[in-house]
């Protein structure tokens, strides 16, 4: 199994390590998933996300290439800014969801899912004929620092270097002598940053953060937090054959250019006439509905659970599910088949949790 540079740091903290997309990663530390999720909601936690793919695209035709492969309006993406988007291949299959950062007119950075890195790169390389593609994943580390105190912590350690950093913006800063890339992005529903640094500095930066009361959190807490925040996870809410509009990501299809390989598809009736909707479900009975469980109304299967967990914020089990569109009525009560039992659940609007804005 592949290991991140911080692997020994996780072991030192007595993390429970599991296989995640071929990487041995911490699912939780001794505090446990629930406490770790609460650190992030109430103070500040950090996650080693070095397993995620980091790919640079550069060269004089880079902007044109990005316009060709992603549904973003590339002209509205400014330097030092980031955007969440989808990678859809020429067969209309969604290969991944990702964040693109514009470094300059001729350089972009893509941060992609660990589980899709290889397939994404294969496809990007297949389409490419005039840009340089550099997979910097093996040379760099990535840490997400999330929570209401995250920005203060980074400011404290960097002589207030990010007081002016807006949402979905990034900066190169100096943190206690280490040069890092800091983006105000995340995957928890809290404010916070994601940093990328050189491998040789990763452990030192991790330790500085630990010394400053940033709690180490595992991928279990990250999953719980993203479900509460109604955020998609590839392989669960997003699949190869998903219709982006059905899964609530129609807003990402912003391309205005016929240079985009799926321009006709994103403007087509086919995509507009979706059949399903992604919904939130609050479980009213005792028990967690999990991925794959069937959703029923009046003894008829109307959909499936894509993700489920227990939320300490909602104080009950919650789930995200995919339903036939005409059953997507808020407050509709459904039954979810969990093993031999049927659990009653209420359809709610996503997200389950929204942070208070300052």
């Amino acid at each position: 199994m592949k290991k991140t540079i911080l692997h020994s740091s996780h072991k030192k903290l007595e993390a429970k390590l599991v296989d995640f997309a071929g990487w041995e990663m911490p699912i939780n530390y001794p505090a446990g998933i629930i406490k770790e999720s609460t650190f992030v909601r109430e103070s500040c936690g950090m996650f080693d996300v070095s397993h995620m793919g980091r790919v640079e695209i550069f060269g004089e035709n880079a902007k044109n290439f990005i316009e060709k492969i992603l549904p973003i309006d590339v002209n509205s993406l400014n330097t030092s800014s980031a955007k969440y988007t989808l990678l859809i291949d020429e067969k209309k299959q969604i290969l991944d969801d990702l964040i693109i950062y514009k470094i300059s007119e001729d350089k972009f950075l893509l941060v992609i899912n660990a589980s899709n890195t290889e397939e994404d790169l294969d496809w990007i390389q297949k389409i490419n004929n005039d840009v340089s593609i550099n997979n910097i994943t093996p040379d760099t580390s990535m840490i997400a620092i999330q929570g209401p105190r995250a920005l203060d912590k980074i400011n404290l350690l960097s002589n207030n270097a990010i007081t002016d950093l807006g949402r979905y913006k990034y900066k190169e800063i100096n943190l206690q002598g280490y040069s890092i890339f800091v983006a105000r992005t995340g995957y928890t529903g809290e404010d916070g940053v994601e940093i990328i640094c050189n491998n040789k500095d990763a452990e030192k930066i991790w330790n500085i953060l630990l010394e400053n009361d940033v709690e180490a959190c595992g991928l279990g807490a990250r999953d719980l937090l993203r479900i509460e925040a109604g955020l998609h996870l590839y392989g669960h809410e997003i699949n190869k054959n998903s219709n982006p509009i059905d899964i609530g990501l129609g807003r990402l299809l912003e391309s205005k250019s016929k240079n985009y390989i799926n321009y006709d598809y994103i403007k087509s009736d086919e995509i507009q006439k979706g059949k399903e909707s992604l919904v939130g479900l609050v479980i009213l009975d005792r028990g967690i509905a999990r991925e794959g469980n069937e959703i029923y109304i009046d003894n008829k299967i109307i959909g499936n659970i894509t993700s489920g967990t227990h939320s300490p914020r909602i104080n009950s089990a919650i789930a995200i599910g995919m339903l036939e569109k005409n059953y997507n009525n808020i407050e509709n009560t459904v039954k979810i088949k969990v093993r031999e039992k049927f659990l009653e659940a209420k359809i709610v609007k996503l997200p389950f949790y929204r942070r208070k804005r300052k």
Binding site: I27, N28, G32, I33, I34, G220, G287, I288, H310, R339
Partner: protein, 125 residues
Amino acid sequence: MSEIPKNLKYSKDHEWVEISENIATVGITLHAAESLGDIVYVDVNSLDKNLSQFDKFGEIESVKAVSDLYVPISGKVIEINEALLNNPEFVNEDCYDKGWIIKLEINDTKDLEELLNSEEYQKII
């Protein structure tokens, strides 16, 4: 490492049992609690039922997974730890004391021969 009390007997399914006269108190081991992680539901649907050794008596569910619970000894389920229904985290905090799950009324202790002592249990985890 997980501490394993010497005065208890253990099943291979990671339940512990403590015998006091004709009452058997049953819970899950620290090793089981740590593997499951944060427990969020404990459900027992066998109150007043007579169960044979290794019959299912309920389910325990954590954020990560759900697991069946089996009685390590034959007997009648006479009490459920009601406090666990609202405070399932007791299993993580103190699985051998306030995290006990059920009490059984037992007729004899011959089933204990099928169980492991603390040293034998240590070897299988």
